[in-house]
Subunit: 121 residues, 2 copies
DNA sequence: GTACTTGGTAAGAAAAACCATACCAACGAA
DNA sequence: TTCGTTGGTATGGTTTTTCTTACCAAGTAC
C-alpha cells in the first residue's frame, strides 16, 4: 500500500474485500459500535492499562461525567468489547478490562494509525 | 492475529503501534472524520464507482436529502477524502471521486471487515 | 453521629445531528 | 412562454447525544 494503486487495482481489492457474500457492508456496524464521544478513548485507555477501576477511568478521561462514562461502558459491555468485574467491598470496587473481542480491534487501530501517521500532521 | 494473544503480547503491540511519538492517539481523529450517518456510505459508493454525479449519489443513498448529502460531501472534501469537479454546463454537472487519501483508507476498511466477518453474525 | 469513600442513578437542560419542505438559477426544448 | 433539468441553499422543526446538577447506599475512620 505504499505505492499508489491504479484505480483498476483499487476496484479489484474493493470488490473482494469490502463486500461480503450477501452484499452487505461489514464496516458500517463496526463504526457505529465505536461511535460516541468517549468509546474509542475508553478502549484506548484500556489498551494502555487493564484492568482499570471506574474512578481511574474517569480521572483519565476528565472531564467526562459519571453518566457518560457509565453509559459508554454499558454499551461497550453489551457489545462484548469490555468486561466488567464487580467486587463485594465497601466502598465498592469495579474493574473494567478489554475482552478478546475488544483486543481483536488492534489490527484496526494499527491500520488507522498507519493512515493517521501518513496524513495527520 | 488468529491465535489469541497473551496480554503481555498485546501490551507490547499497543505500545509500539497505537502511540505516536508525542503520545497522542491517531485513531480518534480518523474515527471522528468518518462519523455521521452518511459519510461511510458515501465513501463506500465512491469505492464501488467513481466518479459519481451528485444526483447519482443521491439516488444510491436514498432516502438521503439534498441537505445531508451536500453537507457530508463538503466535510469529506474539506478532509481531503473526496474530490469535487464542477463542469460549466447547463443543467449543472458536478462529479465526485475519492482522492488518494480517501483510497488509502482501504487497509482500514479491510481490517474492519475482517473483524466484522469474525464477530458480526 | 458525622464526614468521607466509591460507583453509580435520575431528571432535565443544552447542544448537536438530522430531516422536511420550499425555493433558486440558468439554459434548452416544446 | 412555460416546463423540465441539475445541484444545490435556506429555514425551521424533530430527534438524538451530551452535559449539569443533585442525589444515593453502605460501610469505615474520627
Amino acid at each position: 500500500m505504499n505505492n499508489p494503486m491504479t484505480y483498476e487495482e483499487f476496484q479489484e481489492k474493493v470488490g473482494s474485500i469490502i463486500l461480503t457474500e450477501n452484499g452487505n457492508c461489514p464496516v458500517t456496524p463496526v463504526i457505529q459500535m465505536l461511535q460516541g464521544k468517549w468509546k474509542l478513548q475508553i478502549i484506548y485507555e484500556l489498551c494502555i492499562q487493564s484492568p482499570m477501576r471506574f474512578g481511574q477511568l474517569r480521572k483519565m478521561l476528565e472531564p467526562i461525567t459519571n453518566t457518560m462514562l457509565t453509559n459508554a461502558l454499558k454499551e461497550l459491555e453489551a457489545d462484548g468489547l469490555v468486561y466488567r468485574e464487580q467486587y463485594n467491598e465497601i466502598p465498592p470496587r469495579v474493574e473494567y478490562s478489554l475482552t478478546e473481542k475488544g483486543r481483536d480491534l488492534l489490527p484496526v487501530f494499527y491500520a488507522v494509525s498507519q493512515w493517521g501517521m501518513k496524513y495527520i500532521p
